[in-house]
């Protein structure tokens, strides 16, 4: 890890307990913590009207979760730890740029009636 990366990671960790969320990877049971970057919801624009699903980028520090990063696959599920509810997200995309100490996963929230 470069000095620049170290500074970035330390900056992220300094706010970790304030803004980060915990997740359980339902395929393996592994837990991770990361920051959710909220995005506009995606609507498939079907003819009978809106059917949006909330989306977000999940940022996790690469060096902290090597086992999770080795196991995770597209379309896996992450259950968010929350006091009020336990929403489940699906991993739709990954942005794993080696120049960034953070790996990003594009998440789409699953509806309560989704299979």
């Amino acid at each position: 890890m470069t000095f620049s990366d170290t500074l970035q990671v330390e900056g992220i960790r300094s706010v970790e307990n304030v803004t980060w969320h915990g997740f359980t990877h339902l395929q393996t049971g592994l837990t991770v913590r990361g920051e959710l970057e909220i995005l506009p919801p995606i609507d498939p624009r079907l003819q009978l009207g809106s059917d949006t699903r909330e989306t977000a980028w999940l940022h996790i520090i690469r060096d902290d979760y090597a086992e999770f990063l080795a196991e995770v696959a597209q379309e896996d599920r992450l259950q968010q730890a929350s006091e009020s509810s336990r929403p489940t997200w699906m991993i739709a995309r990954r942005d794993d740029n080696p120049g960034d100490p953070v790996v990003k996963f594009f998440l789409a929230k699953l509806g309560s009636a989704d299979a």
Binding site: D51, R53, E75, M90, A92
Partner: protein, 164 residues
């Protein structure tokens, strides 16, 4: 029998076809189903676009010795949405195949051509399909289209005349 019961093709025909989907325990939506924040997936949405009357026109003689056009055509669009499926689209493919099975002519007729229905499906034929690549956004969508030819039963016209 009201005019809506007979002439609201766009509302009535999808609802009748939806019965076949519900019987197969599949999620289905039509224009008459109230909006919902959280629509289930997988799901099929049925839209009917009325077309011209059959040519040459098919006429029925109804109460009062009136002639009415009784056979029409239209296009049924079925939009199917499922979870994404990076592995060869097999989940979506299986769902779409099930929809095609439900839309087989005789299965459809048994769902629509009931005693209480004002309509009789004469013919339905698949006219094509398209698929949207949306795996990275968290879903898969395909659209199936069907040409539909149907007629209105003389009894329905007579009931409408009696009620008018």
């Amino acid at each position: 029998m009201t005019a809506t019961d007979i002439y609201d093709f766009e509302g009535n025909i999808p609802d009748m076809i939806a019965v076949g989907f519900t019987a197969a325990q599949m999620n289905v939506a039509t224009v008459n189903i109230p909006p919902n924040f959280d629509k289930p997936r997988p799901r099929s949405e049925l839209m009917f676009k009325a077309g011209p009357a059959s040519s040459p026109p098919s006429l029925s003689i109804v109460t009062g010795n009136k002639r009415v056009i009784s056979a029409y055509t239209g296009e049924l669009e079925i939009e199917n949405i499922t979870a994404p499926d990076a592995n060869n689209k097999s989940i979506h493919a299986a769902y779409r195949a099930r929809v095609r099975q439900i839309m087989e002519l005789d299965s459809l007729r048994s769902a629509v051509n009931t005693t209480n229905s004002p309509y009789r499906i004469e013919f339905i034929a698949a006219t094509g399909s398209t698929q949207t690549e949306s795996t990275g956004d968290g879903y898969e969508v395909s659209r199936l289209t069907y040409h539909v030819q149907f007629s209105i039963k003389v009894d329905a016209f007579n009931q409408l005349a009696a009620a008018s």
